[in-house]
């Protein structure tokens, strides 16, 4: 490949990765002398049509020998990809633009107050076992997560679905306790997948029987899974591979090596330290898509010194966000503004000034709190997020300049969420984020919530949360969520230094849609059904 060819190839790569639009591409290509051919080159990169065939081999992190096919327990990438993107479907899916669109549902109609939702199901969809999907399956699959005996990770989401009843074999009616304009997003939760119910309204999850693009052939938890194409899949242009072989590779360096040596066609979660080097390798693309994943440092605002908002503001100004993104994320991310709504989400407060590393302001806030210096302890383990101990150490170094002495207490990653997070006054934490502002604020910031890790309670915020949920007027909704973000940023108990991009890698032999979903890694955890071999 000549140098110019190589440059064009790189540009095309960026288009395919979704990092460049048509105008940018043509501008760049024209600058290189490809005046006449530039538009054609673009369309070549962007409009590759899916072809059938091939065995898709993917390396995943986040696998465990205790994994199971019951989606109630799924929490990490191996199982989410296998279940949601592979053998099963939900009623609603999130598309590449972050919108909730019907999947096994056909349509979702709200009442005027958004309290009652009528969901029509697609007809004639078959499970791998041959059984036809209907309202009974949907109800059994959703009820699985509810009730006193549920241990599902989606228990609170499922409980918020209100009363579920069927209206004929192909229609569900949801009667919510209060209006929720974001209701379709709730049904897109990766736990709320559809399985086939037996006569007693129970689903045998372990069989892996679903409506999904691939049929489970074998599954060895924490090791591997093998699936073959579902010939009757209902989506067109999907389920392109003949077979899918998923391999659990929890060690990040091993995953990178497997990708570099071509033992797999794609990997999830690149090791950020070495991702720039993998990017240089020909035949492999590093794909980054910005999503909702963010790292946080929640403080218990009921306890001194965090009960003083001045101290919280001092600490928010004492972290060097730029350095955080550049060092911990190697640039694969964006600055956080101490609230959990990312810039690619609806209702993001774009006009809220970006909080900077500001030693003087930090000192000023300390003074307001009546302090000249501050000694605080923070607990961190790499269980919180990858590189958390290093990252927190970096925070501690930066804060020193403002007279804030942060002692990093490295704790055991074993049982971190049980022993440390929300138990000690200040710790490191990770949120994968939620597709809507309402959902994220409800789960992580609502007063008295199970996971409100700052134990924060703010009257105005609570008021807005209820108002925003049922508001169907977009402009008013936007206003409400912007105000909420401002309140959380200026008065909340959580430091949000950054949003981390989803960074995966894939062989260039793979074809991908021009725009990739950012809600999860690997095209919204759906590369298995959406991608193909060129």
């Amino acid at each position: 490949m000549s140098k110019v060819d190589y440059e064009i190839y790189k540009l095309q790569k960026r288009v395919t990765n979704g990092g460049m639009n048509r105008r940018e591409f043509i501008k760049a290509a024209t600058a290189m002398g490809f005046v006449a051919t530039a538009p054609a080159l673009y369309s070549h990169a962007a409009h590759a049509t899916p072809k059938k065939g091939g065995t898709y081999r993917v390396g995943f992190g986040g696998a465990n020998t205790g994994d199971m096919l019951d989606p109630a327990d799924n929490g990490d990438t191996f199982m989410i990809n296998m279940n949601m993107g592979g053998c099963r479907n939900a009623l609603v899916e999130v598309n590449a633009n972050g919108q909730a669109v019907p999947e096994l549902a056909e349509s979702l109609e709200p009442s005027a107050d958004a309290k009652t939702w009528v969901v029509k199901l697609r007809q004639g969809i078959e499970f791998h076992s041959g059984k036809t999907f209907d309202a009974d399956d949907a109800i059994a699959s959703l009820e699985h997560h509810r009730g006193e005996d549920s241990t599902s990770d989606a228990k609170s989401v499922a409980n918020s679905l209100g009363n579920i009843r069927k209206d004929g074999q192909n229609t569900l009616v949801f009667e919510l306790e209060s209006g929720n304009a974001d209701f379709p997003y709730l049904l897109s939760d990766y736990h709320l997948l559809m399985g086939s119910a037996d006569g007693s309204g129970k689903v045998d999850w372990a069989s892996g029987d679903g409506t999904g693009s691939f049929v489970v052939k074998s599954f060895e938890p924490g090791v591997r899974a093998h699936m073959v194409r579902n010939p009757n899949y209902f989506k067109s242009g999907c389920a392109n591979f003949d077979e899918v072989k998923m391999t659990a590779i929890n060690d990040a360096a091993a995953r990178m090596n497997a990708m570099a040596t071509g033992q797999v066609d794609a990997i999830v979660r690149c090791d950020l330290k070495t991702a720039p080097m993998l990017e240089k390798k020909s035949g492999v693309s590093v794909i980054q898509v910005s999503g909702t994943k963010h790292f946080t440092y929640p403080m218990d605002v009921r306890q001194a010194p965090f009960n003083d908002n001045n101290v919280r503001m001092a600490l928010k100004h004492g972290i060097d966000r730029e350095a955080f993104v550049n060092t911990v994320l190697r640039g694969y991310g964006s600055l956080g503004n101490d609230h959990p709504i990312s810039s690619n989400q609806n209702y993001h407060a774009g006009d809220l000034p970006q909080r900077q590393y500001d030693v003087d302001k930090a000192k000023w806030y300390l003074k307001q709190a009546g302090l000249t210096g501050l000694d605080v302890e923070i607990a961190a383990a790499d269980a919180a997020f990858n590189g958390a101990v290093d990252a927190t150490q970096l925070y501690s170094e930066a804060a020193k300049a403002a007279g804030i002495n942060i002692k990093v207490n490295r704790v055991s990653p074993d049982g971190y969420w049980n022993n440390v997070w929300m138990k000690v006054p200040w710790s490191a934490c990770y949120w994968s984020g939620r597709p809507t502002a309402d959902w994220m604020f409800t789960i992580g910031y609502k007063a008295g919530g199970n996971w409100t890790d700052s134990y924060w309670d703010h009257a105005r915020f609570e008021e807005l949360l209820v108002a925003g949920r049922a508001e169907l007027d977009e402009a008013k909704r936007n206003e409400i969520y912007v105000e909420m973000q401002t309140i959380v940023s200026n008065e909340g108990g959580v430091v949000v230094p950054c949003f981390a991009n989803n960074v995966d890698a894939a062989s260039d032999a793979l074809g991908r849609p021009a725009k990739l979903a950012g809600n999860w890694e690997l095209d919204g955890s759906r590369s298995i059904e959406r991608w193909w071999f060129k």
Binding site: A252, A253, K273, T274, T327, D390, S396
Partner: protein, 267 residues
């Protein structure tokens, strides 16, 4: 002293010197972020910077201080405990031997990392806890070897003679068994010393290890190890330090063994 042991003494004292005078020798603090991530070797920073931009040279120097002390202390404890119990079992035999040996069987058959994980998760990773846990873990194999060696010696004529003379247990262990068991034990000591580094770096694989901001060589290898497949030679620097120190200690041990066993250098 031959050239090898001289080299050993030189290496060990050089590291010792670094350890003692670390604050004066190191150009930066051990946790200070001074540059970009993975600045190249032999550039502005002689050994480059690590995965979050700290000066590798400074970390190595402070690491020498933290690690040599830790490794010496734990190895000494492990050997004291292990060989004492091993000799005791070999000389007393009977139920003492059985109880000790079976106990050691139990502890040793729990994978080291799991043992450390279970204990350190409850106690926290303070230096005291680390020393105790590693010393206990490494006392077990030392016990096995000490017992095996002592068993062989215990049946020798001179031990029997001492027993007939009416010498006490302690006297026999100290005067008859210890000197004769020293060679294999010393060889073991030299190796076990570097195993401490290995265990600590293994612990950092599980997310345990020394508390920050203390620099340690094992964690330095671990933190930078993923770069090696991509041409970043940074992890080789702390690895080389561990290897050099191990070689140094072992060369000294070898020559001491040589002397103790009464062999002349020229055979």
């Amino acid at each position: 002293m031959n050239w090898a042991s001289r080299f050993g003494v030189f290496v060990v004292s050089a590291f010792g010197f670094c350890a003692i005078f670390a604050p004066w020798l190191a150009p930066y603090g051990q946790s200070q972020v001074v540059g970009d991530v993975w600045e190249p070797l032999f550039g502005e920073f002689i050994f480059g910077t690590d995965q979050i931009g700290r000066d590798m040279l400074s970390m190595l120097i402070y690491g020498a201080r933290n690690m040599i002390a830790l490794a010496l202390l734990t190895t000494a404890c492990a050997f004291g405990l292990g060989s004492l119990l091993g000799f005791l079992a070999a000389t007393m035999r009977g139920w003492v031997d059985q109880v000790l040996s079976r106990f050691v069987d139990i502890v040793i058959s729990i994978p080291t990392l799991i043992f450390a994980l279970i204990v350190l998760s409850s106690t926290g990773t303070s230096v005291l806890a680390l020393v105790t846990v590693i010393a206990i873990i490494y006392a077990m194999p030392v016990y096995r070897i000490a017992r095996a060696v002592a068993m062989d010696i215990e049946v020798m004529e001179f031990v029997e003679a001492a027993r007939l003379r009416g010498e006490g247990l302690w006297w026999i262990m100290r005067k008859e068994i210890l000197p004769n068991a020293l060679t294999p034990l010393a060889a073991e000591f030299g190796l076990r010393f570097c195993f401490v580094f290995l265990l600590i770096s293994g612990l950092s694989f599980l997310g345990l290890g020394l508390q920050p901001p203390l620099a340690d060589w094992g964690a330095m290898v671990r933190g930078n190890a993923d770069g090696i497949a991509w041409g970043y030679m940074h992890p080789l620097v702390p690895a080389t330090c561990i290897a050099l120190l191990t070689i140094g200690i072992n060369l000294i041990v070898d020559s001491a063994v040589q002397k103790a066993s009464g062999l002349r250098d020229d055979q």
